[in-house]
Each structure stands twice: as structure tokens, then as C-alpha cells.
Symmetry: C2
Subunit: 165 residues, 2 copies
């Protein structure tokens, strides 16, 4: 039996078990720079200090994926959070599990971002690698650098889960 | 006598005394996510740990500035670096001084970014607040959160420095 995931619109409330949505909507606003800018402040819990970690800033260039997509592999980072923000606002797809040692196919949840939304996966949250749709897309990534094994991967049974809009 | 600054194209080499240019060009590339993405790795020296600081992720929405712009105020952050990456790729203008206790008007340098380029100001580098041009623009900002006085501002004499393309 195949689990067929259909993504729900990404909202801060629905995503709360997995981390934060990075967006201006609903954020604390401060006037800065002599009133010429607004700061939407402190949008994600960047959690990278475990095991002597440090914040690392990178750009990921993700190929567009074809839908329906078979969910073959999930991953998580036991030592740090990982934030993704699209650099040209492109929507993307998200598949997350819980924070436990594993996950059941029935526990997976899928989301589609609104233009401009990013996400920060909390430390230890199972998630699918980036799923760009429509066109290749660049993402700014803030995660943990430093020593230690910060990647766990878990393969799913072939045909167990597919994702489609 | 007024110093008239004309921005030079932003390059990693020219900006090196002030921090890093955040861009894919010239970066270390790694294949990640089962070959579906490229990681342009570790693009900025995020330096936010001084005084018990933590990494903070925010969005700045900057109003477009009119040119010529009088450079009336410079600022710096003695406790941490500060990175700015445009969220829709828009070019912006940069004015920087050195890392000393102050700066002379003649020591200021101006840059204009290419589309998509961001910058990370090193800790203690004098810089002008965000200068968006043409239209309002959003920037992802990674800087230091936490206790401590992390802002120094220095006013310039009226009419001392102007910036124009």
C-alpha cells in the first residue's frame, strides 16, 4: 500500500512541531537604520552549538524535481538546526517526520511554501532533502559547521510513499 | 570640500579587508542530496560568539534611497559580524570604512553589488546602513543576538561625503 502525500499550505502553526517558518508575516517588527528599514526580528531558532559547532552559511542550488516524486530517503541532523530560504522567492515542497529515532510512513507530513517563505528544521527533525519544483532554485542555508557526525539517513521501502501536488 | 564616492563593482578581492562577498562564484562546490543539489559551502565567517552571543536570523525590509545620497552616519558592531543577502537578487550599494576606532572621509570605499551578491561585514568594520536602490528590497540578515552593546554609530560632518552612481 502506497502512502500518497499531498502538501498542505505552509503555516507557522502547522509547522511548529518541526521548526519555524521564516517569513515576515506575524514577525516582531522594529524600525532600524534611522527609519529607512524594518527589521523582522529573530525568525528562527538557530541551534548549532552542540559538540562545539558553529554557524555556517552556504548556498544550495537545487535541481527541479519531477512530480509525482517517490520519497525514497529522509535525513536529519542530530547536532544542529538547518534553515533554508529561497533566494528568488520560489515555492518548494517539504516532507517532514517527527523527532523520534525513526518515523512511520503514515507520520510523514508534506507542505508547499508560499512565495518567499523559508523554513528552519529543528535539530533532529526528519526531513526530505530540498524539493525544488518547476525550475532550479538557489537557497541560502544556515546550519551547523564543525566536527562530529551530523547526518543520519533513512531509506524508505520502494514504493512506500509518493508526493504529488 | 566634499568627498564624492562612486561605487566600484563588488569583488571578493576588493572587499577582503571588510569581510566576505556571499556568492556562488569562486566558492567550494560539493554535490549533496544524492546529486540533486550543489552546495556552495561556507561562504562567510559568521563571528557572533563574543560575549555569549548567538546567531540570529532576521529579514530587513529596506526602503529605496534617492541618489545622490549624503553619507551622514556610519555604524559598526563590535561584538559580531553581520551578513546581508538580498532575497530577490536586487543590487544594492555599500559604503565601508576600516576597523579602527574611527575613519577619515577619505578612507571610505563604496561598492555596488552584482545581482544576487550579498556581503558579510566582519566584526568591527564601519559600514553604512543598508542602501537599497530603485525599489524597496528585502534582505536576509545573519548577525549576533544576545546581551551587550553591539552598536557604535558615528556621524559625519554635514556635506562631507556624498554617494552617487
Amino acid at each position: 500500500m502506497t502512502v500518497r502525500l499531498t502538501p498542505a499550505p505552509l503555516t507557522a502553526e502547522a509547522f511548529a512541531p518541526y521548526g519555524e517558518v521564516i517569513e515576515t508575516a506575524g514577525a516582531s517588527e522594529l524600525a532600524v537604520n534611522q527609519g529607512t528599514a524594518t527589521r523582522f526580528d529573530d525568525l528562527a531558532a538557530i541551534d548549532v552549538a552542540a559538540g562545539g559547532g558553529r554557524p555556517r552559511l552556504s548556498i544550495f542550488r537545487a535541481a527541479a524535481r519531477e512530480l509525482p516524486l517517490e520519497i525514497a530517503l529522509m535525513e536529519r541532523h542530530p547536532l544542529g538546526s538547518q534553515a533554508f530560504v529561497p533566494l528568488m522567492g520560489a515555492p518548494f515542497l517539504i516532507v517532514v517526520g517527527g523527532r523520534g529515532d525513526g518515523f512511520a510512513a503514515d507520520d510523514l507530513r508534506a507542505f508547499v511554501t508560499a512565495p518567499g517563505q523559508g523554513v528552519n528544521y529543528a535539530r533532529g527533525v526528519w526531513h526530505h532533502p530540498l524539493i525544488a519544483i518547476g525550475a532550479q532554485a538557489d537557497f541560502l542555508v544556515v546550519d551547523r559547521g564543525g566536527a562530529g557526525d551530523n547526518l543520519e539517513e533513512r531509506a524508505l521501502a520502494p514504493g512506500a510513499v509518493t508526493l504529488d501536488l
